[in-house]
Symmetry: C2
Subunit: 194 residues, 2 copies
DNA sequence: TGTACATCAGTGAACGCGCGTTCACTGATGTAC
DNA sequence: TGTACATCAGTGAACGCGCGTTCACTGATGTAC
């Protein structure tokens, strides 16, 4: 074996990382293979040594983006491990996340485009959604029923993704104000009352 | 004036209508000017007699799509005028809407792509979002405070858009189940309790 | 230890193709007389 | 009423351009002797 064992995997990870950021910043269609390779410090043509098509890269990037979005949220909590569902939702619906799609949630940045993608992309997207729903359901208070926790996870994720999509469709100050309204809505919805 | 006064406006409306459907079905990037003109029954080259760029068409299509999405929701209520906020949300989060992005909400179908668009497109998108928020706030019970109505409108719209985006990212049966969870979440959130 | 070799990650130029846009032209229309 | 005309909505071919993909090649690497 003429090259160090991890070399190729490391290069591939660098390409996926560059793609994950570019994808969320510019969308699937507006990101070119050449651009991704350039930001990974490689030449255009080497791409097909790692992936058999752009599609495969997009699928890998969705999964990669999901993970660094989690890390980003963890940083907003200053490294404190995720507490409850409301805290998680509040961190997601922050001005910080609004301003930085490229390190944020891939669903909010490119959900509809991915849903129209190939089967490979749709599989990665579906897996990412399930992962998030499971994670959120796990953050719901233990005293609640499974049904209630599942419902709250679905509602919270819908508010997160929808809130961010809407806020990004408005000028910044309006978007920031809208996020505050959605946060208040979720706080009320997740409270103990109903 | 060699042509009937309304002729050009009618043709333009036909182009916008075709674009509004194609846009929601395939996204901004995957819809070509040629394809839109063909489905409007016109030839490719005539486009620039009506619009100065594809961008201008997309902006017009967003507004057009907003209106026929409203009509679609009205039909799901069998023509009954919109009642309260919960009914509206329930109609939006339906299996019917899940299956037919091309006549549904443009925010759920193309929100993130539009948010990355030109200023012209962003303006149309912002106007469409404000229109929907105002409409939803108006459907909230009168007895509630302005603050509460604004918050509920924001939360309901976030749940609608986010719920639909997520559901469309899952296989159909899972998506349908998720919509039911989000509907239950919104029902609880809009109840009188808190 | 030093050198020739086989491997394969990465290079860079080239390829079709489809897109948005342009443009010289056509032909259907209402108007003038 | 009928005919010549000016207008302008629509046609269809052509244009660059950037994209995803391919491919013959390069050169850095660990291995064999």
């Amino acid at each position: 074996v003429p090259w160090p064992a991890e070399h190729k995997a490391e290069t591939r990870a660098r390409i996926v990382g560059a793609a994950a950021a570019a994808l969320r910043a510019s969308g699937v269609a507006d990101v070119g293979v050449a651009e991704v390779m350039r930001s990974a410090g490689l030449s255009h043509g080497g791409f097909y040594g790692h992936f058999s098509s752009k599609d495969e890269l997009v699928a890998a990037a969705v999964t990669g983006a999901g993970h660094d979005s989690d890390e980003g949220l963890a940083m907003l909590r200053s490294g404190v491990p995720a507490g409850d569902l409301l805290e998680e939702t509040t961190a997601y619906l922050s001005a910080e996340h609004l301003a930085h799609p490229e390190r944020g949630c891939p669903l909010a940045a490119t959900g509809p485009e991915l849903a129209r993608g190939s089967q490979t992309v749709r599989n990665a997207l579906g897996a990412e959604i399930r992962r998030r729903l499971d994670r959120l359901a796990g953050l719901s208070p233990r005293r609640r029923s499974g049904t209630r926790r599942k419902r709250d996870a679905a509602g919270a994720l819908a508010c997160m993704v929808g809130g961010m999509v809407i806020a990004r469709g408005l000028p910044e100050s309006e978007g920031t104000a809208l996020l505050a309204d959605v946060r208040a809505f979720v706080r009320a919805a997740l409270s103990d009352r109903p």
